[in-house]
């Protein structure tokens, strides 16, 4: 018998009587300005929100950024060099108000390690793709269609030395979410 069969056999023999799945209750709460709330939450964990009118305006702003900027926004953005960029700009799928997380479909990037390199990470998210909590957010995601996806909330951080918070443990030390009104 293989280990697989032995383990599954033991589980079948030992498992308790089947208990029903409770379903996911409605955990909603009364309205709040989602972008405002998201901004407060993100600032509490060391990030920052910016509002731009349109996607085009966001791209123009990106082009004006100083220093070594690497953007992966449209399919032509495929350039990769060895040097770690100062700023990395990527697209996000959606944003979650309760925890200031953005979901990034990393399949859209040329390499999976892109969001974890550089000093400053900027994620562009469409303004109406913001959801109150994780239940709503997962409702708008299909992991079956994604090879690697990730929620990112704020900059990389650690408090492993005497509970003192330090940003930029291994990933970026700054994180911004730019909300734009429409795709134009």
């Amino acid at each position: 018998m293989t280990s697989r069969e032995i383990i599954l056999g033991k589980i079948r023999k030992n498992k308790p009587d089947s208990i029903e799945h409770p379903g996911i209750p409605d955990f909603s709460w009364p309205g709040e300005d989602p972008i405002d709330r998201f901004g407060v939450k993100l600032s509490q964990i060391g990030g920052e929100v910016q509002l731009v009118e349109s996607y085009t305006e966001a791209l123009q702003k990106v082009d004006k950024l100083e220093g070594n900027v690497v953007k992966y926004l449209v399919s032509e953005d495929r350039v990769l060099n060895d040097e770690e960029p100062e700023t990395t700009v990527i697209n996000g799928e959606l944003a979650v108000v309760e925890n200031a997380a953005v979901f990034v479909n990393v399949d859209r990037l040329p390499e999976r390690f892109v969001p974890f390199l550089g000093e400053r990470l900027i994620v562009l998210v469409q303004k109406d793709k913001i959801y109150k909590h994780l239940h709503e957010a997962y409702d708008h995601l299909d992991l079956n269609q994604i090879g690697f996806g990730i929620y990112i909330a704020g900059p990389s951080a650690t408090a492993d030395i005497a509970q003192i918070l330090v940003r930029g443990a291994h990933g970026p030390s700054k994180m911004e979410v730019w909300f734009y009104n429409d795709r134009k």
Partner: protein
Amino acid sequence: MARVKHAKAAANYIHHSKNPKAQHNAASHLRKKRDREVINVPGWEHLRETASQIKMHTLSNLDKYLEEFERKATQNGVKVHWAQDGNEMNEIVYGILDQHQVPYLVKSKSMLTEECHLNDYLEKRGIDVFDTDLGERIVQLSKETPSHIVVPAMHKTREDISELFHDTMKTEKGNLDAKYLTLAARKDLREKFMNARAALTGVNFGVAETGTVTIATNEGNADLGVNKAPVQIHCMGLEKMVPRQMDLSVFLRLLGRSATGQSITTYSSHYQRPKPGGEMHIVLVDNGRSKHLGMEDFWTALKCIRCGACMNTCPVYRSGGGHSYGYTVPGPIGSIITPARDINQYDDLPFASSLCGSCSDVCPVKIDIHGQLLKWREVIVDHGIVDKSKSIPMKMGSKVLSKPSWYRFAGSIARKVMKQFPGLVSSMVKDWTRGRELPEVPKESFRSWYIKNKKKNDK
């Protein structure tokens, strides 16, 4: 090496370690952060209850979900392995690394691999392991084990770490700046990350519906490692399963808040498929879990999502420190998991509790931790593996208490002896009187007082 019993190890920590308060302060700090965050979440109790039921549902159908998970992951191009115990897991991991002739491995935090002593196994076979979580790196460099599952170097002070980094990374002597030290560790590991050919992580949740491996970290070390290296390996305990992607919404809302008071960890990654041109392996590890599932009174301990909240709140853990438990998972949850694995080796741990119940109150998946601690005590006493210094007085006590006349006689003797020879009595129960005073001796028993007063009142 024989395990030192908890009481002795904890006493040693309290009286002989350099900084016995370090762990206490850190754990209290995390407990407070948790409270401040949790109070703002509408429906928190309902969320806990939902999580508990989802876990019970999953565990009671675990075979089905593991098979679905395997099927889905395999379809996604992932290689799934099954390991009955730690040794088999180590063999599988070594096999993968050996096949690729990998000189070293970057590894993010994984209590499962600590439990199975993977580092030792690989290092003996010539493969270096670099723990990349800062806390794990600190305990690795100081040749220790984690004292906490979320904050592995919780027992260490800034001074300790500064000295350690000076010795191992040539940082400036006496520099206590946490940022300076953290960035030194970042720099030290950077080159390892960039050139790694294999990376290994633990797993927080496995999703049956999508074959997803979910990993929650704050540093980004797990994802940097996994995505730089062509070969990625995820070691996962069987009990980490959840049925559907929507179930993750419940657990990710609970995990960070319970662990460190964060609404969510900085990174919550979902790996479904290997990177283009890369390899992805998942090792499903039993190591006693399927046996534990069959224990009627104790199987719900497998609901645990390893947030560490029960440790942060536990007065015994905070005082005695994480190492005193002598197991990878310390604290209240460790004390109910360990006897399920090996009751003879860990028979002392269910007694390492005041049964205050705070652990059960903070547990995000509502494990009745203090109830199970008490039940384990019963099992251990029934097994007759209780220390004689406890079992003999208990037997005598139960005899005396079961016979009213004996009880009354014993009481009258005790009152006399305590009055005449308080020093003698004190020395007889010296473990108890260390730090406490014996109570004042009453003139008579409650019974005689009551009879006397009742007569008075009846008149």
